[in-house]
């Protein structure tokens, strides 16, 4: 496919690796924020091509993974209500709540539907006027405007049996929490390209200044990521801490103004609990008062019931980039995508799922070698 295949070219990738090896003189530690980028790195073995000592830490950019247990419990409770159709993106269905997950709730008779777009959920509402359709909307700044647009259209078309259970999160507050935490090792950051395609680069300029941190907005293909890593190594070697854009074909400096306006109209900033990271002030988005009639939390009077995370799951440390999935005793044994203990093993963007999909045999081989 055009605009994908070119960025999977082995020759270009090799050239970038050689360039990186010629550039990097120190064991720089970089973080990629987005789970999509994590999957590319692990899938193509890019982390293994880095010069000795250089390391990629995987960031918290997996919205499924950071959705708190309490919110998943709310979705499961909603799905069990009479007359409710609960619609969400496929990844959400297998994420374990405190007792069960949406897929099991569906097996027990709840009407849970997988949709590709929030507009599909809105369509469900129009087609089922006697039912209440709740769209469980998660995601970062990339997904928030489309979800907001579904609410905006519902309001415009007078579709009153549609509502949004919003669990949106914002990247910059989480980054500030991670970068400002004691023991932070991140020296350079690959910023999430599709988030920046919406919001632009202003927030990242501020972060680069605050933490004296080189930031490169990166794409999602192997050549994109290698180029972003080379650009970060250049900055680090030269002592610069700027925001650069590797993904110029898709990211404009100011982002997408129409998407930003939609987001600002329908959603409003709120404090949000992140699974694994805890409560972060002003790090989430909820439905604004103007659209209260389409806010599932208000419509169904949902309240938070704090619950404990499963003890064996180290997803908190994974999401903070402090541990890698194979370091978890349950990885691939008591925790698999079929029977996950935590969300990072479920989501197509979760770090544990990436290692399970592409690296689990390596982990097994190492275990066998240790066993000898």
């Amino acid at each position: 496919m055009k605009h994908l295949d070119e960025y999977r070219d082995e020759k270009l990738a090799n050239a970038l690796v050689a360039r990186l090896k010629a550039t990097a003189t120190k064991p720089w530690v970089l973080m990629e924020v987005c789970g999509g980028q994590t999957h590319t790195l692990v899938r193509y073995g890019i982390d293994g091509l880095l010069p000795a000592g250089m390391e990629m830490i995987h960031g918290p950019g997996c919205p499924v993974c950071v959705t708190p247990l309490e919110t998943i419990d709310k979705a499961i409770a909603l799905a069990g209500m009479k007359g409710v159709i609960l619609a969400s993106y496929g990844d959400m269905l297998r994420v374990p709540g405190s007792e069960t997950d949406l897929l099991r709730a569906k097996a027990r008779g709840a009407d849970v539907r997988v949709v590709y777009s929030p507009l599909d959920a809105l369509k469900l509402a129009r087609e089922n006027p006697g039912r209440e359709v709740v769209f469980f909307g998660i995601g970062f700044e990339t997904t928030a405007p489309p979800n907001a647009a579904a609410v905006w259209q519902a309001a415009r078309q007078g579709v009153m049996n549609f509502s949004l259970l919003a669990s949106h999160v914002l990247v910059p507050p989480a980054l500030r929490a991670l970068l400002g935490a004691e023991g932070n090792r991140v020296q350079g950051l690959i910023a999430p390209g599709h988030v920046c395609a919406i919001v632009g680069l202003a927030d990242y300029h501020a972060i680069a200044r605050e933490f004296h941190l080189p930031i490169v907005v990166g794409g999602f293909e192997p050549v994109d990521l290698l180029e972003a890593i080379v650009m970060l190594a250049d900055q680090l070697e030269q002592g610069r801490a700027e925001v650069e854009n590797q993904y110029t074909r898709s990211v404009r400096v100011d982002g997408n103004a129409l998407a930003q306006a939609m987001l600002a109209d329908v959603l409003t900033v709120c404090d949000r609990k992140w699974r694994g990271l805890g409560e972060i002030p002003r790090s989430g988005l909820k439905v604004s008062a103007k659209y209260a009639a389409w806010d599932a939390e208000l419509k169904f009077g949902l309240t938070d019931r704090p619950v404990e995370e499963p003890k064996e799951c180290i997803s908190a440390l994974i999401l903070q980039g402090r541990k890698k999935p194979p370091e978890c005793a349950a990885f691939g044994v008591r925790c698999t995508p079929e029977r996950p203990l935590g969300a990072p093993m479920v989501s197509s963007e979760g770090a544990c799922a990436a290692y399970y999909q592409y690296r689990r045999f390596e982990a097994e081989r190492e275990l066998v070698e240790i066993g000898r």
Binding site: H3, A15, G139, A149, H194, E244
Partner: protein
């Protein structure tokens, strides 16, 4: 979740005040909402995320990036060959120019 796929815009239409487009992804055609990208023209490549076109792929920028990378590739190849000759040592690699070719944004 932030996965967005590049596709070619085949047709634009307006349905009930909403802008829709037919977008082709490697042979598969799907409908996408163009409300965030009304300036997209038929023939443009757009990135589609959860049914919404979120940005237009800038062909000029894509060409520029690929040309830069191809140049880097050619350079590495030349240096690689040079490095394999006995009279050239490992320090050849350190001679690769450091100018990045990227503007700070």
């Amino acid at each position: 979740m932030c996965l967005a796929i590049p596709g070619k815009l085949l047709a634009k239409s307006e349905v009930g005040g909403l802008l829709r487009g037919r977008v082709e992804f490697g042979g598969i055609v799907r409908e996408a909402c163009l409300d965030f990208l009304p300036e997209a023209e038929v023939g443009d490549y757009v990135l589609v995320h959860v049914g919404f076109a979120i940005t237009r792929i800038d062909e000029e920028e894509a060409t520029r990036t690929l040309a830069y990378l191809a140049e880097l590739g050619a350079l590495q190849e030349e240096l690689g060959e040079a490095a394999s000759r006995p009279e050239m040592g490992d320090e050849t690699a350190a001679m690769i120019p450091v100018e990045a070719g990227h503007e700070a944004s």
